[in-house]
């Protein structure tokens, strides 16, 4: 590496660190119950996209850009029953990304990007 490239690389590193920080997620996890297991078709891809937490768990991602207005107080999504036989939730994760924040700013709050990932409880039979 040439010495003259060092400031550029440092700048790149700093931008990467800032991007990391603008991208965060908050996850609620039940302390009772067992997550629905799964063996993902493309495990590496699932891990790279979502992280280790979802490894061997059956998960559903709700990813939508939703229009908001002064009349909208809250938004509700039904749980997809095909991936949630038990009908009970084990974890819910809300993720904020840089793209989501930019969309919100660019549309003056008119559009909000929502990314929610949830895992249901394992089906029980006794």
């Amino acid at each position: 590496m040439k010495f003259s490239q060092l400031p550029l690389r440092l700048l790149g590193f700093c931008i990467m660190m800032l991007l990391f920080q603008s991208c965060y997620s908050v996850r609620l996890v039940s302390t009772k119950g067992t997550p629905m297991p799964d063996q993902h078709e493309d495990e590496e891809l699932a891990e790279a996209k979502l992280g280790d937490f979802y490894k061997d768990k059956m998960f559903t991602v709700v990813k939508k850009a939703i229009p908001a207005s002064v009349f909208t107080e809250s938004i509700q999504f039904p749980i997809d029953q095909t991936n949630c036989e038990s009908g009970k939730l084990f974890s819910v994760e809300y993720k904020n990304t840089l793209g989501g924040s930019l969309l919100y700013l660019a549309t003056f709050g008119g559009k909000r990007k929502v990314k929610i990932t949830y895992v249901c409880m394992k089906t029980e039979r006794q």
Partner: protein, 536 residues
């Protein structure tokens, strides 16, 4: 009818990315729904028929067949190159009623439950807890399935409780495709359930101590473990303390297990004479790259259960970016000398906080494992009297021929009756090094080489040892199993040969068994007594 989906595959990894291992077919069975088969017993028997169908199919294709659960083992013990079956959806459970008990049983029926193979430790704990009961012991976390736990000898550090398999009192195996190939095993000296119970599951009963002990830690090769009877006890709480103490004191306690005559005491955990009480659990953490004369230790004391106690889940967990871990590993391949530095930086994630205290049930204390990324673990069992010597030998090796990205810990287990349990000594000290999986470089020793060197240095120092079946090791090391188990390995093979037909021995074998010499059939070399596995 239970429904199996088959997926053509080319490779398979363990949960912690050990591999790749070759695979042809992954099979996943889901139980029939309650609306179609309302009776849980009928549903269980329906699943048994499905397993027999899959076994027959594998046999007809000249394939091997191996079940796995949560794939937590890092060795290839759970792997088969042909067909693997994912058990996790097979999670029925049944209470044991007084009328199910054997007339000579010495168990309280309310402490017994029958669990299908795919129940995880977490699910089992929840079933027990709903009934005011608890498992007696678990591993350091709760994700393993019960069949996987007992097959590989999962253990905690409960000084007087042994490993998970030591609390199994009955095993239901499927050993072939025919009706007579469903068997229920118990010890004849400690019967638990009556024949009528086993007959509900169409099982042939064999009560035989030798066979039962051999089948307990079976490495998945005594047939398909369909269900097990587990003994629990009344629900209890664990008071957990973390302390940093003089390393000489920590090692003395490890060698002697004498918590009474030591200067190290925890306030409130002493008897009427002011002597220290023996804890339920004792664990020592050792960072091989720092020697400040002290070790972090974790102790837990059993307390009667009460309904009101502070919520043990109050902390906020922050997870590290996978990319950061990956970056650190890449750096350490080029600059191995940075490993001690980054272990120190990650110490907060790896080691418990000193002076941390908590109170919770076994279920709450040994909760979900936070890290599921690429990892390795090597774990050796030695007699406690050798633990300080063995630890020094292994730490010296790590410093001299490493460094490697991991830290050591010592846990302790009571001797097991299972023939191939690695808890072979009166009290076995499990010396383990856990860390992030790395790749060999010019400057960094490979995991394979490091595993081999660990065996060599212990042998050179005349320290008898065993190795955890589910952990990384140089499993093809010449004469390894004979060195560890001697005649016990032959006994185990004899029972396996007596229970399984030649076809089934081959079907339930795998590369791991072949590497370790455990797949060899004893019936070729020695006469197996005809009455070896009769019901006594």
């Amino acid at each position: 009818m239970a429904n199996t989906t088959s997926y053509p595959k080319t490779e398979w990894y363990t949960l912690h990315r050990n591999g790749p291992h070759k695979l042809k077919l992954l099979q996943i069975t889901r139980l029939e729904g309650q609306a179609t088969i309302p009776s849980a017993v009928d549903c269980y028997n329906d699943a048994a028929l499905e397993m027999q169908r899959l076994i027959k199919e594998a046999l007809d294709n000249n394939h091997g067949f191996r079940a796995y659960g949560s794939r937590w083992s890092m060795s290839s013990v759970a792997h088969n190159k042909d067909r693997m079956h994912y058990n996790a959806y097979m999670n029925l459970s049944f209470p044991i009623l007084p009328q199910d008990m054997h007339s000579n049983a010495n168990y309280d029926s309310t402490n017994l439950y029958f669990f299908q193979c795919g129940n995880t430790v977490k699910e089992i704990s929840q079933v027990f807890e709903k009934n005011g009961k608890s498992l007696k012991v678990s591993g350091a976390s709760n994700g393993q399935t019960i069949a996987g736990c007992i097959s590989t000898g999962v253990h905690g550090s409960a000084l007087n409780e042994g490993s998970v398999q030591d609390h199994v009192v009955g095993i239901n195996l499927i050993i072939g495709p025919n009706p007579e190939d469903i068997v229920y095993l118990e010890r004849h000296t400690k019967p638990a359930l009556n024949d009528a119970f086993a007959q509900k599951f169409n099982a042939r009963v064999i009560r035989n101590d030798g066979l039962f002990n051999a089948a307990l830690v079976s490495l998945g090769s005594f047939g398909f473990i369909h269900g097990v009877v587990v003994e629990g006890e009344d629900l209890y709480l664990l008071k957990r303390y973390v302390r940093k103490i003089d390393k000489k004191v920590a090692l003395k306690l490890s060698e002697t297990m004498d918590f009474k005559n030591t200067d190290f005491k925890i306030e409130g955990e002493t008897d009427a004479n002011g002597k220290g009480k023996t804890p339920y659990h004792y664990k020592v953490f050792i960072n091989p790259y720092i020697d400040d004369g002290k070790y972090v230790v974790e102790l837990m004391y059993k307390k009667p259960h009460r309904s009101s106690y502070p919520d043990p889940f109050t902390t906020i967990d922050k997870s590290l970016y996978r990319d950061v871990i990956h970056l650190l590993i890449q750096i350490s391949r080029k600059f191995p000398k940075s490993i001690p530095w980054f272990i120190k930086k990650l110490q907060k994630q790896i080691l418990p906080d000193v002076n941390e205290e908590s109170l919770g049930t076994l279920y709450e204390t040994f909760w979900d494992a936070p890290y599921k990324g690429p990892a390795f673990a090597c774990s050796f069992g030695v007699d406690v009297k050798d633990c300080a010597k063995a630890l020094k030998v292994l730490v010296d090796l790590t410093k001299k021929e490493g460094p490697i990205p991991g830290i050591y810990a010592m846990r302790f287990i009571k001797k097991s009756d299972a023939t191939l349990s690695f808890a072979q000594f009166p009290t076995t000290c499990m010396i383990e090094i856990d860390g992030v999986l790395w790749k060999e470089s010019k400057k960094l020793i490979s995991l394979e080489r490091f595993s081999k060197r660990m065996i060599e240095v212990l042998q050179q120092n005349n320290i008898p040892f065993t190795i955890h079946w589910g952990k990384n090791s140089s499993w093809n090391f010449p004469g390894l199993v004979d060195y560890m188990y001697g005649d016990k390995a032959k006994t185990w093979k004899s029972y396996r040969s007596a229970l399984l037909s030649k076809d089934m021995q081959k079907l339930f074998s795998n590369d791991f068994l072949e590497q370790t010499g455990l797949s060899e059939s004893e019936s070729d070399d020695i006469d197996i007594p005809e009455d070896l596995i009769v019901s006594l």
